[in-house]
Subunit: 262 residues, 2 copies
């Protein structure tokens, strides 16, 4: 895609090309540049950083976001980013946006989230990327507060830029605009899903399991995303893709000598 | 599952329950405790941290790793870990092992890897976890060198333990045992896939795309996993699940005030 002078913005999500959250994001982003949408052709929540290795990918042009160019993709959110950069645009966009996710992607949910994995993939490619999520799973959730904050954050991005290889995980509480106190730059809270499985019998008497569970916040720090959201702030976590536990490198260093001479 | 006194070891992978790499790992792990295998019923490379939200999960008992208890699971590697802990074992195992992956999971491949995502899920649950990968994609790859190092690393684990919420990403070069110089505690290299897509026509004349690409190492540091592997070492990266880019929190802090009063 040739440059038109205005910023080129690639948009994806994990709830599928016809999700209200995606339309809400596209509507705001259009005010900041040329938008191209490449989004999954079906809901793909919980896809994480999955990519399609064993299957071919399809792209179908869609009028859903006209006049913006849009494609429904048979693959995952990360596939959408890869196809977007290397096949559709044939160049790196100036910005990748993902969402708005129907449901919060705070804390360790960043790892399960297709929405955030698309943004992380953008960061890996060296492209400034932002994922947006609303704390409401409903298909018809009200995105008006979210749209206000998308606009604010895009203004800040175009004014200040983002650090290299860093994307943003933005979560918006499901509150009226007047009830939100502003944005907080936060840390990913340490939490996990204490899972339960619904164990049921199908119509043939065979057992199946369906994932359920409760989220357990283990983090007492005052500056986490979960804490910010609970206090009524929009949480913004600068997010990268380096999973090295640097704090433990020195501890483990002794292992090198314990094996070397055996 | 009741405690027998010996360590309970849950094993999974992403190449599927009948992969040679999994059998190679089970064979070594059996010497260290009671092994239970729960692995995908099909190859699921590139699944990342995907979980099944929209689909029910099935477990089928398998004799493949007898006398060890084993189940083929219809879900992802992370589903296998969750089902293992909460449904099959009904308690946290003492150790989770994942692999041996047919193919390297060094550098940023940790994000795409189902093998490593299973280990990261274990770390999120507070269970010591280790993922093993061999730098050879072949289904019939030679895992004998790998088995030597699995044995070494399990000995070190049972002697020293692991830091809390930290798993290990272990990659073994595809070399004869004598050619390997030992293990190196390393950092995740900064690299990415410069993707290409094979663009073809199916028998109906419709276009499809198939992911391909080349891996681009952008990291000049001498202590990365990619560097260690190139030098003939087994790389061991202490890996966590906190994606916060702490270095950039201060930089972004000014955004809080720039929105608050608008």
């Amino acid at each position: 895609m040739k440059s038109t002078g205005s910023p080129l913005i690639l948009i994806t999500n994990d709830d599928g090309i016809d999700a209200k959250g995606l339309a809400s994001l596209v509507a705001v982003a259009k005010g900041f540049g040329e938008v191209v949408v490449i989004a999954p052709d079906k809901p793909l929540s919980g896809m994480g950083h999955a990519i399609s290795i064993h299957d071919p990918l399809r792209l179908f042009e869609s009028k859903l976001h006209a006049p913006a160019l849009a494609y429904a993709c048979s693959g995952t959110p990360v596939d959408c980013v890869k196809l977007g950069i290397y096949e559709v645009l044939k160049r790196k966009p100036d910005l990748i946006l993902s969402g708005v996710n129907h449901g919060e992607n705070s804390s360790t949910n960043v790892l399960y989230s297709g929405t955030m994995s698309a943004a992380i993939e953008g960061a890996m490619e060296g492209i400034p990327s932002i994922g947006f999520s609303l704390s409401n799973f409903a298909p018809d959730a009200d995105f008006s507060t979210t749209q206000y904050y998308i606009d604010q954050i895009l203004r800040l991005f175009f004014k200040n830029g983002l650090p290299a290889n860093c994307c943003l995980n933005v979560n918006i509480p499901d509150l009226p605009l007047a009830a939100i106190k502003g944005i907080k730059i936060a840390k990913q809270a340490h939490a996990y899903w204490a899972d339960r499985f619904e164990k049921r019998q199908d119509q043939y008497g065979r057992t199946y399991f369906w994932l359920s569970g409760e989220f357990a916040d283990l983090d007492q720090r005052p500056d986490t995303d979960l804490h910010a959201l609970k206090e009524g702030y929009v949480s913004v976590v600068p997010t990268h893709f380096d999973l090295t536990a640097y704090a433990h490198i020195q501890t483990l260093k002794s292992w090198e000598n314990e094996t070397k001479f055996q």
